[in-house]
């Protein structure tokens, strides 16, 4: 007699049932996860950035520095944390970095992340910077490298 004819039908039924349940559990869990991810992403977009693609400027009599970023968050009434792809641009130079705290009232901007300054024939790599005195003075922090051409 064939071996398979000896297997209990009940066992086959329960085994099939287990497989079906497992499959359903897997499908539902995935759906829940996807919903969670969607929620998380949407929450992140909504909660992390107070301002999308903010634009500011620091100006005095002789120059104007335009500031752009991907995101901005208010830390206080005047202080804004600019996040991701933060760029400073004036007629003379540009600075790129990842995080900057911009003070609207004091017209200052300070970063403690790796920064790249570029002007004509000049490049400065630094561990951050501070723009103050209405953009007239720039302090580059830490180990810095200037390349002049």
């Amino acid at each position: 007699m064939n071996f398979f004819l000896h297997i209990n039908k009940k066992i086959i039924f329960f085994f099939g049932l287990i497989i079906v349940f497992s499959f359903l559990i897997l499908v539902f869990s995935k759906q829940i996860n996807i919903k969670n991810i969607d929620l998380k992403v949407s929450k992140k977009i909504l909660s992390d950035a107070d301002i999308a693609e903010p634009k500011f400027a620091i100006s005095n009599d002789s120059r104007k520095i335009h500031i752009t970023a991907k995101e901005g968050n208010f830390l206080t009434e005047n202080e804004i944390l600019l996040n991701k792809n933060v760029k400073f641009k004036s007629n003379d130079f540009s600075i790129e970095t990842e995080k900057v705290i911009f003070d609207r009232n004091k017209q200052t901007a300070e970063s403690k992340t790796k920064s790249l300054f570029k002007s004509k024939n000049t490049t400065i790599f630094s561990d951050g910077f501070n723009i103050y005195d209405n953009g007239n003075k720039i302090m580059f922090y830490g180990n810095s490298l200037i390349v002049l051409k």
Binding site: T122, I138, M139, F140, G142, S144, I146, V147, K149
Partner: protein, 253 residues
């Protein structure tokens, strides 16, 4: 994938740091840079190293003045254990303070144990040493000022002079040496003391003024005014009315 990208960026950045290209000037600092845009200068802080095709400078702190933009350097002021080596000017210096004016090619080192050494001439001072590479003017002022070249040794409080290029060598064409106490000049086998010593290469005459002493081959001549002809190595000494020229001949045997 992100890891590979990060590694690539780090490697590229490292090569950028290590590899200075010809014509570029590379400056590194340990405590940052402060740029004053309206005043047109920037401060380089702590353990500053400047490397270019023409020179190498190390100092604790450096101030750089610029004209149009940061690359357009007009003046360099350095302080604290300043070490300057220039292949272009064929000189090196050590000092507490250092100043270089780019347009006029005027270099000044200040402070105790300052030294400025070229291929042909060595200059030392506890005050300052100033050299103008364009017109050859030089000046040493302060305690322990000293100038040495192949044929001459000068010690005085103030040494003014002019270099000129004679082929590969720099030679002194004019000298004005002053010391309140006494100036000292040694030329070949002749030692000279006076309060004021002048030299003009055109007429080949060393002029000695006040408290003059000339020592040569055991002879010591004193007087108030003297001249030494560097062409034939002969000298003359005069005295004022109420004093006399004194000659002491020593027996060296």
């Amino acid at each position: 994938m992100r890891l590979i990208l990060s590694i690539t960026i780090i490697i590229l950045f490292s090569f950028k740091i290590i590899g200075r290209e010809i014509g570029e000037t590379e400056i590194t600092t340990e405590d940052g840079i402060e740029v004053f845009q309206d005043e047109k200068y920037y401060l380089l802080k702590k353990n500053v190293k400047i490397l270019s095709d023409n020179f190498k400078l190390n100092a604790k702190d450096v101030k750089i003045d610029f004209d149009k933009s940061l690359y357009d350097i007009t003046e360099i002021n350095a302080k604290g254990e300043v070490n300057f080596v220039s292949s272009k000017f064929g000189l090196n210096s050590k000092s507490d303070f250092f100043k270089f004016e780019v347009i006029t090619e005027k270099l000044r080192v200040d402070g105790k144990n300052s030294e400025l050494i070229t291929k042909d001439i060595e200059m030392y001072s506890d005050g300052f040493i100033e050299v103008n590479n364009l017109n050859g003017d030089f000046k040493l002022e302060g305690m322990n000022s000293k100038l040495i070249n192949e044929s001459i040794l000068i010690k005085a409080e103030k040494i003014d002079g002019v270099f000129s290029d004679n082929g590969d060598q720099k030679e002194i064409t004019f000298l004005n040496v002053i010391d309140k106490k006494i100036s000292y000049v040694k030329n070949n086998n002749t030692e000279m003391y006076a309060k004021k010593i002048n030299f003009d290469n055109k007429i080949s005459i060393i002029e000695l003024i006040d408290d003059v002493i000339i020592i040569r081959n055991g002879e010591k001549i004193t007087g108030d005014y003297g001249t030494l002809d560097t062409k034939n190595n002969s000298y003359k000494i005069k005295s004022h009315k109420n004093t006399k020229v004194k000659a002491v001949i020593q027996n060296n045997e």
